[in-house]
């Protein structure tokens, strides 16, 4: 059975508006105008045990709202939702005991307390038996290299250190499902890699189901077998990364480093889209121009130092997807 089932989830926010200027402020005292903002509209998907899913969309698309509904924090206006067989907002306490949540922009650790004391507090809050807690804690401390940080108050940690501690905090009680809202936001390259490696490992080894939102497409490329794309509160793609590429464009890129930087590069079935020193970037459609033929063609005509084939970056694909949708 699916671990997470979401059907027709809809959530609308009512936002009080006031007219601009001091006069508007005065009028607002007597007559409030409300604007309805649909955060998610008829969102449906289901997730099997052990999946690692990227939930992607521009700012304000409804990603965080979905996560917060799944985490039992928000109550949707309509739609059905079950996580591990429970309705999150109806059985909030039982539900939250079985899931882990990380909001990248915020910390769940206690600002004034040393990290280890936050962990102990979470052990009590989640009612984790001492032996289980020790086992999980030691494993997480080891994996995330936390031992030098444990006695430091949270307010003194760097963002990367804090995120590692937050990940550990979310997993101390051994949740079956982990929701991550922008776990790599603001992190430097090394910390991002550490977070990704860790997520990959716990997904593989502990079979933790992970749903993560991100703006960093490298996260998606490195981690996710499945992508759900959402915009204006609606799902408009759900499937593999390759499928997402294929749906938007078949484009592939051939990057060629020529011996002679002055030479123009002209071949049948490919367009030069970028030229920089020795490097030429050709765009082509492999269904029309098979890759081996194109490479043979280029190497036959020009002296080549190096060449390789690349997919267009996922950022461009997603941006293209949003553009297509608006048309």
């Amino acid at each position: 059975m699916s671990q997470i089932v979401v059907e027709g989830l809809t959530k609308t926010y009512q936002i009080a508006e006031r007219e601009p200027g001091p006069w508007g402020a005065v009028r607002g005292l007597f007559r409030r105008r409300y604007r309805r903002v649909v955060a998610v509209r008829d969102v449906s998907f289901s997730v099997e045990s052990g999946e690692l899913i990227g939930y992607v969309g521009p700012n304000g698309a409804g990603k965080s709202t979905t996560i917060k509904i799944l985490a039992g924090i928000l109550v949707p206006d309509s739609g059905r939702c079950r996580v591990l067989g429970r309705v999150p907002w109806r059985e909030r306490v039982a539900h939250t005991a079985r899931i882990g949540v990380v909001f990248g922009q915020r910390t769940q650790l206690w600002w004034d307390l040393p990290v280890i004391e936050s962990f102990e507090l979470l052990r009590d809050i989640y009612r984790v038996p001492e032996t289980v807690y020790r086992k999980h804690r030691d494993e997480l401390v080891d994996r995330l290299e936390l031992s030098p940080l444990l006695d430091t108050p949270v307010r003194q940690l760097s963002l990367g250190q804090r995120m590692r501690c937050d990940l550990a905090a979310a997993l101390l009680h051994g949740p079956a499902v982990l929701f991550l809202d922008e776990p790599t936001i603001g992190l430097d390259a090394a910390s991002k890699l550490a977070v990704r490696d860790f997520l990959w490992e716990i997904n593989r080894e502990r079979n933790v189901t992970i749903l993560l939102t991100t703006h960093d497409m490298d996260d998606i490329e490195a981690l996710c077998s499945r992508v759900i794309v959402i915009a204006d509160g609606e799902v408009f793609y759900d499937g593999s990364l390759e499928g997402l590429r294929a749906r938007v464009t078949n484009e592939r890129r051939l990057i060629v480093d020529l011996e002679d930087p002055g030479l123009p590069l002209r071949v049948e079935g490919a367009v030069e889209i970028q030229r920089e020193g020795h490097r030429r970037v050709l765009s082509f459609d492999p269904t029309k121009t098979p890759t081996p033929l194109l490479i043979a063609d280029v190497t036959a005509k020009y002296p080549v130092r190096d060449l390789f084939v690349e997919n267009p970056p996922i950022e461009e694909i997603v941006a293209q997807l949003y553009r297509d949708r608006e048309r």
Binding site: S64, K68, A71, G72, L74, T96, A97, V101, F103, I125
Partner: protein, 263 residues
């Protein structure tokens, strides 16, 4: 239960870190206390009728108010308020705990530590130098102690309701400034309530705030006999029940309409 006990303990330790704030509070409280006592003495000297509270009683009453200021002071949980602004309150809701009990545990810890840190040195100071008197009997002391527990829970229960109100107001500057000032007045912290005119007394009786300060103080001074403790406690706990129920139902409503800002 362990979860609530742990969060209580954690708050307790954090509060203990604010010793400088306690020392500063002590000086402020002592200053205002002296001022109030002087005003009282001036009024008593020119009183035409016999006041319903003797001067030593009024002085002790005033000092008790200064000692227990932080216990009586109503305010929403500063941590939750910060979370509301920053949006971290989402984490509070994502924990497998009864949120009301969680917040109540914290409100209790937030009151006990600052009160103890201030009250003990303040009481010593006021008893030795400024005319605060011991309770007339052990019975009075015991009655006062019991009523103090009620005052603590009453203060915490009202404060959690204020915390919950933040779900609607988010910043909550209005309520959180107005309510404590009014409540301090109505619990006798500015002027001892027995000194108000006769017609005011039924009004004070109808409100919950008397149980925060006035009634426990009068048990201490002996103005109320120790036997009165039963009716005092009954009053306090009925109000505590009312505020807990109100707080719980408001929290339930608030969570349904919650908009988590940002992110």
């Amino acid at each position: 239960m362990k979860a609530y006990w742990s969060v209580f303990r954690a708050r307790f330790t954090v509060q203990l870190q604010y010793r400088a704030a306690a020392a500063a509070g002590l000086v402020t409280q002592a200053f205002w206390g002296l001022l109030r006592v002087m005003v009282l003495e001036a009024f008593y000297r020119s009183a035409e009728a016999v006041p319903p509270l003797s001067l030593p009683e009024a002085i002790t009453y005033t000092w008790l108010g200064q000692c227990l200021f932080r216990l009586i002071f109503l305010s929403p949980d500063p941590e939750v308020r910060e979370m509301m602004r920053a949006g971290t309150v989402a984490y509070e809701m994502a924990r497998p705990v009864d949120l009301y009990a969680f917040w109540l545990s914290r409100a209790l810890a937030d009151r006990i530590v600052p009160t103890v840190l201030r009250a003990v040195p303040m009481a010593v100071l006021a008893t030795v130098f400024f005319g605060m008197q011991f309770p007339p009997s052990l019975g009075a002391l015991g009655a006062w102690a019991l009523a103090l527990v009620g005052a603590l829970f009453l203060s915490a229960a009202i404060s959690v309701l204020l915390t919950v109100s933040l779900l609607w107001t988010i910043a909550g500057e209005g309520i959180t400034r107005l309510v404590p000032a009014v409540a301090l007045f109505l619990s006798g912290l500015y002027i001892p309530l027995p000194l108000f005119p006769e017609w005011c007394q039924p009004v004070f009786d109808l409100l919950p705030f008397r149980g925060l300060g006035d009634l426990p103080f009068r048990l201490y001074t002996g103005h109320l006999p120790p036997e009165a403790v039963f009716s005092v406690i009954l009053r306090q706990w009925v109000w505590i029940g009312v505020f807990v129920l109100l707080g719980r139902s408001a929290l339930r409503q608030g969570m349904r309409r919650l908009v988590v800002q940002g992110g």
